[in-house]
Amino acid sequence: MSRVTLLALQVLVAVVTLALWQFLSTVPVFGKVLLPPFFFSNPVDVFSQIVKWFSSGVIWKHLAITLWESILAFVIGSVGGILVGFWFARQPRVAAVFDPYVKMVNALPRVVLAPIFALWFGLGVSSKVALGVTLVFFIVFFNVYQGVKEVPTTVLDNGRMLGMNERQLMRHVYWPSALSWMFSSLHTSVGFAVVGAVVGEYLGSAAGLGYLIQQAEGVFDVAGVFAGMFVLSAFVILIDMAVTVVEKRLLVWRPTAVTRD
């Protein structure tokens, strides 16, 4: 399939879906509207709501808050994950002691932590960041741990035979290997940083995309809920594209850098 055909077909799917939605929610079929506007709104209303948000400029504040929370969650979670991942991988005894607890905490659905974080950190930015951190940390942690553990023995022996001491092995062998594993999970960890922020906002906040959606839902403004969802999707796709650009630069040495999943 050529690029043009593919793009045309992709656009066609969107057009058909939106047309069907608009038709079923406004035109009665056999005397009955199949998608009652109260529950399903319609594309035109949703679109005008999005336009209203952007033309009045309200949306920028919420986008900025969500972006800021995601960035903080990603950075803090990554730094923590890298440090602990390295520590555990180089100290198998520590890893063995903490292993069941790591598994336990990771098994916990993070949503249940939201109320606790709201109590501890208040309804502002920090409680959302905390929620995002708990998600990002484990992904980065597991990947860095794996990256350090899975350095090929030959490469390690080669480093030793070339005269590297432990510190140099760390810098030239373990660290690049761990980073490559971490970067390969960049899409997942960045995505989870956003999830943490939005879920946190949804469960209690005064700003952000999650807050917008929650507010609209509170007054049964279905158009607002859908509009929030579309803005959120576009937001995530833009971030994902940025990650792809970064990833290609960072993993230039890897034959698989361009393909994913």
Binding site: P152, T154, V155, D157, N158, N165, H172, P176, S180
Partner: protein
Amino acid sequence: MAMTEPTAVALDSATVAFRLADGRVYTAVEQANLSVAHGEFVAIVGPTGCGKSTLLSVTAGLLKPAAGSARIFDKPLSGLNRDAGYLFQADALFPWKTAIDNVAIGLEIRGTPRTDALARAQQWLTSVGLGAFAGRYPHMLSGGQRKRVALAQVLIRDPKILLMDEPFGPLDAQTRQIMGNLLLELWTADRKAVLFVTHDLEEAIALADRVVIMSAGPSARIIGDWRITLPRPRDIAEIRMEKDFHALHREIWGVLKDEVMKGYVQSTQAGAA
């Protein structure tokens, strides 16, 4: 000979054993005596799984012998062998470094300023025929090119002893010959002691001053030691046509053949059990 130059590598009744998962002890190499003189090129040949590589790891200090000792330039070896460069059978380049960085790293970790290290690395890449590939990452190079980079990576540190573990094993026949000639050319420039492990008897005779034959494992022993008096400089491809080469090959193969068959039978039995 030993009066003037200390022996580069001397293994004295070195025995190497591993503890298997079920608690049994597997003796890979039994009482190996082997010496490599300064500037001598010694090839070890033996059937698959006879412990040739094990012996090399002992010399490198990556493995400790269960009994016996390894002496490097008349000093007992403890820890890693700092006088040795090791060319691995598998790919051992750092995949996240470009070719030139892979070569320069051996100098950089020694404290050579980066610009100097890079300049020397570029020279080495040129002398292994990869001057134009400095910026490539290992995955962008062919198997033969990666071996060239690995050779430059080891030689830039100017080790007194060169340990090579079937370095050209994964390459195709033509590339092997080219690499063999390159190795001889670089080795002739400054004669290092070389311990070269291979399963290819022809390659061993073509390259080495001495060919050492090991018996089939387990408890492999050194069962033969031939001096190869073919004149140097040699061309790997052409030397195989010489009469003397054939005579040596026939003689050594006579001993090696039985061990190869034994090794083959053992490996099939081990597979069945």
